[in-house]
């Protein structure tokens, strides 16, 4: 069984388990601890194989992929505007950061805003988890980082790393860190402008 099938099965088992077991705060903590472990392992490999030159060129690529992610998400939001209204643009500009988007949009637009913000951004992340291994044959690594959006520095980093190697670690992390500052501004702008 290949890695992609294992990932899909893990997600299906997790979803089935979620029907019977209520996710508590401990699950959040566990996810954070697993992420920390993942990033430690990835850090060891990158420290072993990345040079100073890679870091400098990676930052530029990270900024460009963020611009592409913002433009692409905005375009998708405009496409869904007739069906979801201004929530479509605001939630698409969450760039996959579902924890922030759901709570921010719930506070600004009510419970429906929270649900749409959560589902839109979570589905972006899950879509990335499931399809990055297969889409890597069609798209370049820069496009994969751009597609991942905010999770490029955490949950989707191992997937990008597996397909693109250590040379795309810095752009992925740079984009993920930059989205932390950009997403609140973009969502605030989307809500107040429309």
């Amino acid at each position: 069984m290949n890695f992609q099938s294992k990932v899909i099965l893990s997600f299906i088992f997790g979803t089935i388990a979620g029907r019977y077991v209520k996710a508590s705060n401990e699950v959040d903590l566990l996810i954070q601890m697993l992420l920390a472990l993942l990033l430690f392992l990835i850090g060891v490999d990158s420290g072993y194989s990345i040079s100073y030159k890679d870091v400098v060129s990676g930052l530029k690529t990270g900024l460009l992929s963020l611009m592409s992610a913002v433009a692409g998400s905005f375009a998708a939001g405009v496409l869904f505007f007739p069906m979801l209204g201004k929530l479509s643009i605001a939630s698409a500009l969450g760039l996959g950061w579902y924890t922030f988007s759901s709570s921010f949009l719930a506070s600004q637009m009510g419970s429906m805003g929270g649900v749409i913000g959560f589902v839109t951004n979570l589905s972006r992340e899950i879509f990335g988890m499931i399809t990055i291994p297969s889409l890597s044959r069609k798209f370049s690594c820069g496009a994969l980082v751009s597609m991942a959006g905010s999770p490029s520095s955490d949950t989707l980093l191992p997937f990008i790393y597996k397909q693109c190697g250590s040379s795309f670690l810095v752009p992925s992390i740079a984009q993920g860190v930059l989205t932390t500052f950009v997403v609140p501004l973009l969502q605030t702008a989307a809500i107040s402008a429309l």
Binding site: D28, I31, S68, S123, L144
Partner: protein, 96 residues
């Protein structure tokens, strides 16, 4: 504040790992032997992570009743990911 702590946790884990990687390189330790078990550990961690994200999302969505909005939101999430990738391929990738 919570997300700031989370980002700090990520950066600290990565920095410690990065330092360990540099240390291995500088001391000339043969890392090829460690690569296979490390990759297995990485894969196992990814699978566990995906399992818990699935668990968290399905138990979180039980409360929602807006089926159409959820369906449209899923499409929106997928579209925004794909359009971002296509945007990169059509514009930035050609310029590079």
């Amino acid at each position: 504040m919570e997300s700031l702590n989370f980002i700090l946790l990520i950066l600290i884990s990565l920095s410690i790992g990065f330092s360990v990687g540099i240390l291995i390189k500088r001391r000339g330790i043969e890392a090829e032997k460690l690569k296979k078990p490390a990759m297995r550990m990485l894969e196992a961690t990814v699978l566990l992570l995906v399992f818990f994200v699935g668990l968290q999302s399905s138990s979180g969505l039980e409360r929602s009743e807006a089926v159409l909005s959820i369906f449209l939101s899923i499409l929106l999430g997928i579209s925004s990911a794909l359009v971002s990738a296509i945007f990169w391929e059509l514009t930035l990738n050609r310029r590079r």
